[in-house]
């Protein structure tokens, strides 16, 4: 039994329609399957995502503005559903956030 592309795209639509926001944090610990969220969130880096869909895939994008998260060394990013359950957490190289920069977070997910 296999799932045809149209079915995978339906699953993509169901998942992506519930993805809501991205938030960054200051904890650089490696990802673990037991993670329940960003480990040290910087709350004002929370921004709603823009979803772009393509075949069996979707891209989530959110921008941390120049006025947000300043004074923090950002080390992690979380992508969340609209019920605050995390879809994905990933660790990034250290990023010292100042009012001179904005940070665009892009995460691409795929249904195989």
């Amino acid at each position: 039994m296999a799932i045809p592309t149209i079915g995978k795209n339906k699953i993509r639509d169901l998942i992506s329609s519930s993805v809501d926001y991205i938030i960054m944090g200051t904890n650089g610990d490696d990802f673990d399957v037991s993670d329940t969220g960003v480990k040290a969130p910087v709350n004002d880096t929370k921004n709603n995502v823009v979803i772009t869909k393509t075949n069996k895939s979707f891209q989530t994008q959110a921008t941390v503005l120049s006025t947000q998260g300043n004074g923090n060394t950002l080390k992690e990013v979380g992508v969340y559903f609209d019920d605050d359950v995390i879809l994905d957490r990933f660790v990034i190289p250290d990023l010292v956030k100042t009012d001179q920069i904005e940070v665009v977070n892009i995460a691409i997910s795929r249904i195989n």
């Binding site: 039994m1 296999a2 799932i3 995978k8 699953i11 998942i15 990802f31 393509t54 075949n55 069996k56 895939s57 891209q59 120049s66 006025t67 990013v77 992508v79 879809l87 994905d88 990933f90 660790v91 990034i92 190289p93 990023l95 009012d99 001179q100 920069i101 904005e102 940070v103 665009v104 977070n105 892009i106 995460a107 691409i108 997910s109 795929r110 249904i111 195989n112």
Partner: protein, 221 residues
């Protein structure tokens, strides 16, 4: 395989349960199941410098009368974070990581394939920039084809020694954004002669070939 075995075992147990009452009609039960794999396979961070812009409340950029109304983004420090297994994957579902200006083949995102005719080449954009050295890379076989016995296969793209059409298909890697290209073989780790924190990984494929399976590039293994 695991799904199939589990289904058979459950079918067997269901039949046993039904025959426990000595029914005259043998029931036939068949279960179906499959596995869905959802993966977040690439993350890109763009760090945009706002050196000459108006920012309210800023010590210099928020002051009236100063020349701070110019171009908002003066640099784009994009870097790519690899997923947990340090592997970049190109499914050909997006054109984001393909240099559409310098590539001469045909991208088909609907069918997730890239076609190269004789003399054409596929040149990637920067697929990985980690802000730390990129020492080595390995092209990996498509996992679905590992057990087929077809040998040197990257999806349906065969590299190095195998000829498709009129051209030898050849794969190249660069860790300096395409300034220097190095011919590599599929499945074999290639170590770059030099590396630095500014390394930017690109790949290039030349030859007459239709790439219909994902490309996997393992970094710093």
């Amino acid at each position: 395989m695991e799904d199939t075995i589990n289904n058979i075992l459950r079918d067997k147990q269901d039949i046993k349960n039904q025959l426990g009452d000595f029914q005259n009609v043998l029931p036939v039960i068949k279960r179906f199941s499959t596995t869905i794999d959802i993966k977040q396979y690439i993350h890109v961070i763009e760090e945009n410098q706002l050196n000459d812009s108006m920012i309210w409340g800023h010590s210099s950029n928020g002051v009236w009368g100063q020349s701070k109304w110019g171009d908002r983004r003066t640099s784009n420090g994009e870097f790519t974070v690899l997923p947990r297994n340090n592997t970049f994957i190109e499914y050909f579902a997006f054109d984001r990581f393909i240099d559409m200006t310098n590539s001469t083949g045909t991208l088909d995102t609907a069918n997730e394939k890239y076609t190269l005719d004789s003399g054409e080449e596929l040149v990637s954009n920067i697929v990985t920039k980690l802000r730390r050295p990129i020492y080595n890379v390995t092209f990996i076989e498509h996992p679905d084809l590992r057990d087929t016995g077809t040998g040197m296969v990257l999806g349906e793209l065969q590299l190095g020694t195998t000829t498709f059409g009129d051209d030898n298909v050849q794969l190249y890697m660069s860790n300096d954004s395409g300034t220097n290209w190095y011919a590599v073989d599929e499945g074999e780790k290639f170590t770059f002669p030099t590396s630095s924190d500014n390394d930017e990984l690109k790949y290039k494929i030349k030859g007459e070939v239709e790439i219909t399976h994902p490309i996997y590039i393992k970094v710093n293994s």
